[in-house]
Symmetry: C2
Subunit: 381 residues, 2 copies
């Protein structure tokens, strides 16, 4: 029943340098991430966008991936305290996916960390105010750091033709950028960080667009960047887009706030490899995490494939039950996959039921019950 | 052009115990505050709602005013560090409006603080993750506190008939609650914090609805509370509602993220009385604030009354210029006031131009220029 609820616009819900362009392309839905607009749909259906993304190239305004810039003599010390993942071997030019925990080992974000220099980091965040978290902690510890939200507006180029498009605009150097690495490239005399990354299971890049001099107007330059890529992409069938729910779920890409919250620990989210018990460094939540590692977890993120008519994006969690009606978890993101030709969902499932192949019942919002099966993540190709 | 943009719903944008009811009443717009839905309109226009609010009683789902609960031996010490306002004379049962600053004396929130006990506080927040801020700082300082976001869902009863409605549901004790005080009252055997407060210039109350025992279903009980108040309000011409932009601007009530951000200090926001230089306690931002107090501020929040046709809610700031075209500030929230019979706006204005009676030019989003005058806040009755 919420299908036609409008989003009330205000300055608090920040626009981006690309919002004018996104509106010109006929954006139909927005959501709000980090107090900023994130497009959620254009003229085509989620399924049409899914097929387009898997074959062509799309441009996404993901400016809401705000950067928390930490610099100064204690920058490394602070950043390392913010995650269980060891950063000691991280080189400049690398992107690291880092779980961030509170004192109870509850997840408070799952950003990508960029190391710009030995004493300069960007934390590219999901939807929570890590700026305040990092600042509060640094103030309490009296660390010698400078923490700001710089005017960086990521623009994602995603899809199998992403490399071809990027090369045509930025040159052959783009090909040298490996997955989860970045390089600094030139755009009209400005220096831009370009990473091979993105919130899809396709190939792709994220341009961490920034203007470094005050005399540039950020919207004007942002629109130039958008237009340049758009024009170069016309013969590649470029389309405006946004993170695609079908692609994201198939790829097992979790969304903070949707698929996990601060009530979940990283082991429940299958992030064990970033939480190795031999990590010798100190970090927030270490004691609590160690306790959980010793006692084991009670639930875990799994895939579910389920029957029935094609399910549209689930706006609220769906209950997962045993055949006897016992609640054993919930699907937090679900939709119909036109490739698997079944409905699929990301779900947090209790231990006794998380084995692959386990039969479950999925209860739709209207009460309808459907048969399903537990699978691994990402969903099989 | 953003008028018909839909809000994409997901678990991350949290529903409240009243969202079902709000949808049944025909909510037309939502916004997102603290990762939660805030209704922004129903079937009537903003102007119709304004007149209704000034004469009757309305019920608002303001669950997005999340509570940051700070308890434990160091609770007072921590809370006092979070604001320049002295809390040493604050008694249990009081509500204090408290600016919260970062290390540069930039505003990071302007919540209402409730003192539940000597070692138990609720911070009822505007739109930023103060939970992370307070927790990060407490962890850094190694304070002995417990900080959580409890399941509290404020419901506001606003308008001149609010007291009559509240008395009919909760009894005569309601009359004893003075402005910015709270009492604990009974609702179906549960204890509820009720404060005389609210985000309007009318009389009103905020019920900090909470269920303390696990066997209560929060949505079920929330709907009971809503229905009880609704039924009791029928003969008082009760209506569903939300913070009303005309009423809010007339009353000079600022909105964090709209009218001021972390780029603004509290003196620019006319919050001098909470920042007295004789405050002897230590707080975050004290050094920076003291420097600003010594050097003086460069801009200040003012009212502007301006001519021209009736202006709808401004979704983006409007430039304020001198007659010579020099930019001297911006209107951050603006709308037509049917009582003043002119357009009004909250605006941040440079020092040389902030005198009352100063003539200014307001530039609309389409470029149209209108004559205006600087006024004090709140706007004159």
């Amino acid at each position: 029943m919420s299908k036609n609820i409008k989003l009330n616009m205000s300055r608090r819900i920040r626009r981006t340098p690309y919002t004018n362009r996104v509106e010109e392309h006929g954006v139909s839905d927005f959501t709000v991430v980090n107090h900023m607009l994130l497009p959620k749909g254009f003229k085509n259906s989620v399924e049409e966008d899914y097929w387009h993304l898997s074959k062509n190239v799309q441009m996404w305004d993901v400016s809401c991936q705000r950067q928390v810039q930490i610099s100064g003599p204690d920058a490394f010390k602070l950043v390392q305290k913010l995650t269980p993942r060891s950063l000691k071997d991280m080189e400049t030019g690398k992107c690291f996916y880092i779980p961030m925990l509170n004192e109870n080992a509850g997840m408070i974000n799952d950003p990508v960390l960029l190391k710009l220099d030995d004493d300069m980091f960007w934390i590219s965040i999901a939807d929570s105010d890590i700026l305040l978290w990092a600042k509060g902690y640094a103030l309490g510890l009296n660390l010698n750091v400078n923490i700001i939200e710089p005017d960086v507006y990521p623009l994602a180029i995603q899809g199998p033709k992403a490399e071809q498009l990027m090369v045509s605009v930025f040159g052959e150097e783009i090909k040298k950028i490996k997955f989860f690495n970045f390089r600094v490239v030139d755009f009209l005399g400005t220096k831009q960080v370009v990473a091979r990354s993105g919130y899809s299971k396709q190939d792709g890049f994220e341009i961490y667009f920034k203007v470094h001099e005050d005399h540039f107007n950020i919207t004007e330059m942002g629109e130039k960047l958008w237009d340049t890529l758009w024009d170069a992409g016309k013969n590649l069938n470029i389309s405006p887009g946004c993170p695609n729910l079908i692609d994201r779920i198939e790829g097992g890409l979790m969304s903070y706030g949707n698929d996990f919250t601060r009530e979940n620990n990283p082991l429940e989210c299958n992030l064990d490899k970033y939480c190795k018990s031999d990590n010798s460094h100190d970090f927030i939540g270490k004691t609590a995490l160690s306790k959980i590692q010793n006692h084991g977890i009670k639930q875990k993120m799994r895939g579910i494939i389920f029957n029935g008519s094609a399910t549209k994006a689930t706006s609220q969690p769906l209950k997962v039950l045993t055949e006897d009606g016992v609640e054993i978890g919930q699907i937090t993101s679900g939709i119909y996959s036109p490739r698997i030709k079944k409905n699929i969902g990301l779900s947090m499932i209790l231990k006794d039921y998380w084995n692959l192949g386990q039969s479950v019942i999925v209860q739709m919002l209207d009460g309808e019950k459907r048969n399903g099966t537990i699978t691994s993540l990402p969903f099989p190709d």
